[in-house]
Symmetry: C2
Subunit: 339 residues, 2 copies
């Protein structure tokens, strides 16, 4: 089987890898219908932190179950499934309250940029659709595995409410799908922070009512201008840098809610700033599994079309170009077709 | 008029001060029924940070209205009133959503350790009782001005729910009243972290079901032992140091809620820790004004007795002993009688 392997900074290759197999009785092996490159893949791709050994890449996936372990009960070969990037047992106390991405047994899924993938804890991780979905729905269903689930969590964690004012920091795929999620949750005003025309366009398509191109203090000042001088009710931080966190905190009104879903790199927050900002904070790795059933219905019913974030479609053997295009911000997100 | 003035580290004195008067038409002057020393007064008292000029002390107060400015409508001379340590207009957009301590016009009330006090923005800050309360209720009513309001906010911001598990970090007066607040909100289990016998006793009286005497990693391990290994649903951080914040974050279960109400001193939080902890965070200066009407009713109806935190009662001219006793942790909280 040929899959994507990261060998070092900006060095991702397609090469022969062992065919995934059932290792534990709770595993499943699925045949990937489509995979993609995640914004978080770009951190190690850019050498931050540098990888220490060749690493199979990819953690966003959907596909047809090929084989299941002897203990797997909820999915069976032939079914179309979507799963979270974090495998979970979905029964521990943390899963039961909806934080499957902090499951006691959680395990990062890896190596999805390939034709086949082993998924641990299949019963607690995968959700099957009733029927095999049509081809045109595959991109949207694929996004539910991480990027759309993460945008959805960002909106949920920032307490987006009908009629509320929302600001989204970050115009990557997660930020754009945060806009879509906020719209779906009924936000009245959605301010997208972006300086890229193609991303602004998609943000508007997804429901953004205002675009702010300024950053840092100027960006904060613009958000305040648009929100009675106090800041937005809900702010979604979808980047993960110190600058974007600052921008987000300062853009939130006192008593408002700020979520952070971008994996933080070098972020430090001062207690005093948090204290006097009066902001609610919540975030972390999205508990995608919690939202999967609802999000799958929204896609199958045609209510949301998050697959629009894929503006580059490549056969798997051109994965290196997918990373390059996203690294250089030529593409929002690259879809990879393994077959 | 003789009132308390801080002159330098551990140097608080009673001395002659100008009689407060109406400066702006929105002011009131009240005759203090009782005042007290706040845990936050101990920071400048201990020289952290050192004060730059002699400073009149005290921001917790209740008393009888002596005089009001021409614009004041909601309170009148002769009424008994309680107000927040932060004056607020109670009409700006931030006040309207219940964050009066971030009011656009907010102003710290100061100099309450004295017989008379000027309160700015009287209409938005003070709440009058229907009748003049009996003497025995004064200590409890006084606590509503800050320490009890802060404990209540700590419990509210940590999302305390009926039947939930709560841990309280800090056994000062705020922490103890956080226990009382959690009990009042219906918490099922309340774990107080304390190693002082008299404070443990009061914590139990206020509703604590468990006492943890360990601190740091050992304290966290004990909390996990008591909570199925995952941590408490709600954790109230009532100290304000880096150590106590760490202890609180690590004691909260994934998806749980942690509040911080102790004024932070030298606290820095790493983004990565917050991200992977999956904790909700909220805190800041308590919006006491929001809670005053409800808390006043609870005291007048005899449902709560937060005045029990005063284990030292002194005439105002012995204020220095009040500071010393609290600094040395001989007293939980000192009540000062100005007349």
């Amino acid at each position: 089987m040929r899959g994507a392997v990261l060998h070092g900074t900006r060095d991702v290759r397609i090469e022969e890898r062992a065919r995934p197999k059932i290792v534990r009785p709770t595993d499943a092996v699925i045949r990937i219908s489509a995979a993609c490159v995640c914004g978080s893949d770009l951190w190690p791709y850019r050498g931050n932190p540098p990888i220490t050994q060749p690493t199979p890449m990819g953690h966003e996936y959907c596909g047809i179950v090929e084989e299941v372990g002897s203990a797997v009960k909820s999915v069976k070969p032939g079914q179309f499934v979507i799963g979270s990037f974090f495998a979970s047992d979905n029964v521990c106390p943390t899963c039961q309250i909806g934080y499957q991405s902090s499951c006691r047994q959680r395990e990062l899924v890896g190596g999805a940029q390939a034709p086949l993938l082993r998924v641990p804890l299949a019963d607690g991780t995968l959700v099957a659709t009733r029927d095999i979905p049509s081809e045109d729905l595959i991109p949207s269903l694929l996004t539910l595995s991480d990027v759309m689930g993460t945008g959805w969590f960002a909106a949920d964690a920032a307490n987006v409410r009908p009629g509320g004012t929302v600001a989204v920091v970050g115009d990557g795929a997660v930020g754009l799908l945060g806009v879509l999620s906020a719209k779906q949750m009924g936000a009245g005003r959605i301010i997208a922070m972006s300086r890229h025309e193609s991303r602004q366009k998609l943000a508007r398509e997804f429901g953004a009512t205002d675009i702010v191109t300024e950053r840092g203090d100027e960006g904060v000042a613009r958000i305040k201008d648009l929100t009675d001088g106090i800041g937005a009710d809900s702010v979604l931080e979808c980047v993960g840098t110190g600058e974007s966190m600052q921008q987000a905190i300062q853009s939130t009104r006192p008593g408002g809610f700020m979520s952070y879903v971008g994996v933080p790199h070098g972020v430090e927050l001062k207690g005093e700033q948090l204290f006097y900002s009066h902001v609610h904070l919540h975030g972390g790795p999205a508990p995608v599994r919690r939202y999967l059933p609802e999000m799958i219905d929204l896609v199958l019913d045609g209510k949301i079309n998050p697959g629009k974030v894929f503006d580059l479609v490549l056969p798997l053997n051109q994965v290196a170009e997918g990373y390059r295009a996203m690294d250089e911000r030529r593409a929002i997100k690259a879809l990879l077709c393994p077959q």
